[in-house]
């Protein structure tokens, strides 16, 4: 349903470069990356707001720039910061949005309003950031669309609303919709998505099912040597992936520890603690210096 093929679009110092991905019906792809990685640019290209400089971006097989009107008969785009009509009340905005877009599902809207505790009575300009965000999401998710493009849907939401949104996204997936959402928080993507794509400096690093994320986690060993010289000597011999702090060395290895154990046999090891890195660490490893 959503298809990008070698898509390139530079934008104000950021952008996306040579991106290829697809999202099928019934899939929720979480695009994960830090601020400035190019996630929003990709969504804006897919929403027909920016033109691709190279490659193609299509939804339902239609070009995102030329056929945006036809695409939005069956697709929805919710930006990171919802652009509400500030003079309207929540209810007026929802009515306006429903009439303007068409395909509004009142039952879905009622359910989401209750689940996410969305206030509809006050004027949009008097609402807080979270309330505005929830209203923007409600206006988008209450439409009976087949493709949802959601830019940072979890941003600004409370833990309670995040849980409700994750449930709503799962319901969308079960109904056969294709969802492409962005986030910079791994836990949100793991919770709501079937697939994950990690984007770094505008380029896709990896795309895989969320369940497969654990397979790429490395094993981490904390080794304590009896002297700093021993630790330094080990670091020089092992070369890759060693972090040295005094007599202690931190080694991350993707596969069997056999080679490590054989090497360590030649040193005086005081302590050895092993374990699998958690998913957040695995995510950080993809980014290196990008995340502080």
């Amino acid at each position: 349903m959503i298809h990008c093929d070698n898509l390139t679009r530079a934008f104000e110092g950021d952008g996306v470069f040579d991106i290829s991905l697809q999202v099928q019906a019934g899939q929720t792809l979480g695009l994960l990356g830090p601020t400035g990685a190019g996630k929003s640019v990709l969504l804006r290209v897919l929403a027909g707001h920016l033109r691709a400089q190279a490659g193609t971006a299509s939804v339902f097989g239609l070009d995102c720039w030329r056929d945006r009107r036809r695409i939005f008969r069956r697709a929805v785009y919710a930006p990171m910061v919802p652009a509400l009509e500030m003079r309207m009340t929540g209810e007026e905005y929802l009515n306006f949005s429903a009439r303007y877009h068409g395909g509004f599902n009142p039952q879905k809207a009622r359910r989401l309003t209750e689940q996410m505790d969305i206030p509809l009575t006050g004027q949009c300009r008097r609402m807080g950031q979270e309330e505005r965000k929830k209203l923007g999401l409600l206006a988008a998710l209450a439409l009976d669309a087949e493709v949802f493009l959601l830019d940072e849907p979890f941003g600004s939401l409370s833990a309670f609303a995040r849980g409700a949104l994750a449930d709503a996204l799962q319901a969308l997936r079960q109904s056969g919709a294709a969802v492409l959402m962005t986030s910079h928080v791994l836990e949100e993507v793991r919770r709501a998505c079937s697939h994950i794509a990690i984007i770094r400096q505008g380029r896709l690093v990896v795309t895989q099912p969320v369940e497969a994320l654990s397979l790429t986690r490395q094993k981490v060993y904390h080794i304590t040597f009896n002297s700093p010289q021993q630790a330094a000597s080990f670091a020089a011999e092992w070369e890759a992936g060693v972090e040295l702090i005094g007599t202690r060395a931190l080694v991350a290895i993707p596969a069997s520890p056999q080679a490590l154990l054989r090497t360590l046999a030649r040193y005086e090891v005081v302590d050895l603690i092993g374990g699998r890195e958690d998913a957040e660490e695995g995510f950080l490893r993809y980014y290196g210096d990008d995340i502080v």
Partner: protein, 257 residues
Amino acid sequence: MISALFFARFRPKSLLIWLLAALVLGAGAVAAYLPSPLEQLRFLRGEMPELFTVLGFVGDSNLPAFVLSALYGLLLPILANMQAVSLGRHLLARPLADGRLAQLLAAPHARASVLLLHFLALAVWVVLTQAACLAGQMLSAVLLFPVADLAALSQLTIGFIPTALLLSAFCCLLALVSPSEARYARRARLLLALMLILAMAGRLSGWTRLRLFSVWSLFDGRSLAFGAGGWGLAGLAGGLTLVCLAAALLYFQQREL
């Protein structure tokens, strides 16, 4: 339904202020034709003839001609300028800057329809404002000068509307090509004020050609008021409005958001 957008953009409460201002201006211009204020104005004109020439006030003894010089020389052009800048800002420049226009385009509606609907809202505002001004003139005329030439007053208003619409269409185009709301506001204010100044300076002898650089040269009030033509220029203003609108549409089709 895209018509929902028209009602979202068309804010009656904000319009009321413009309508009231236009009504008061129209009524006041006709009321100033009463002997006492007219005498005072003529006296002032004698004291400061060049200033009053620049402001467009002649002090005619014919009511439509008097209204033309008292109202259409400066007050209504200023009102039309302010309204054009304000409408361009509220309808296009600000929604472009805060993402509302992008949000409106993430919908099954053509960009041309969205822009035309905005222009329609703007045109209705302009026409209603001018109609309120005419209503004010009519009201004053009926109450104070029962034998006044109401047809001439109507012709002035109808002939003025295309120029006011041209200003608004021009502001729409300017809002689309400006990179930010603030830049739009600065450019629009500067350009429209310049046109007004050129039109005013063009009334001085020896400087009459300056008027040709202003859109206000398309409003030939004297010919309109006395049935001696002036519709050709009004038609030209209408045509230029369509040209501005077409340019805005073409630009908007390719504009990234």
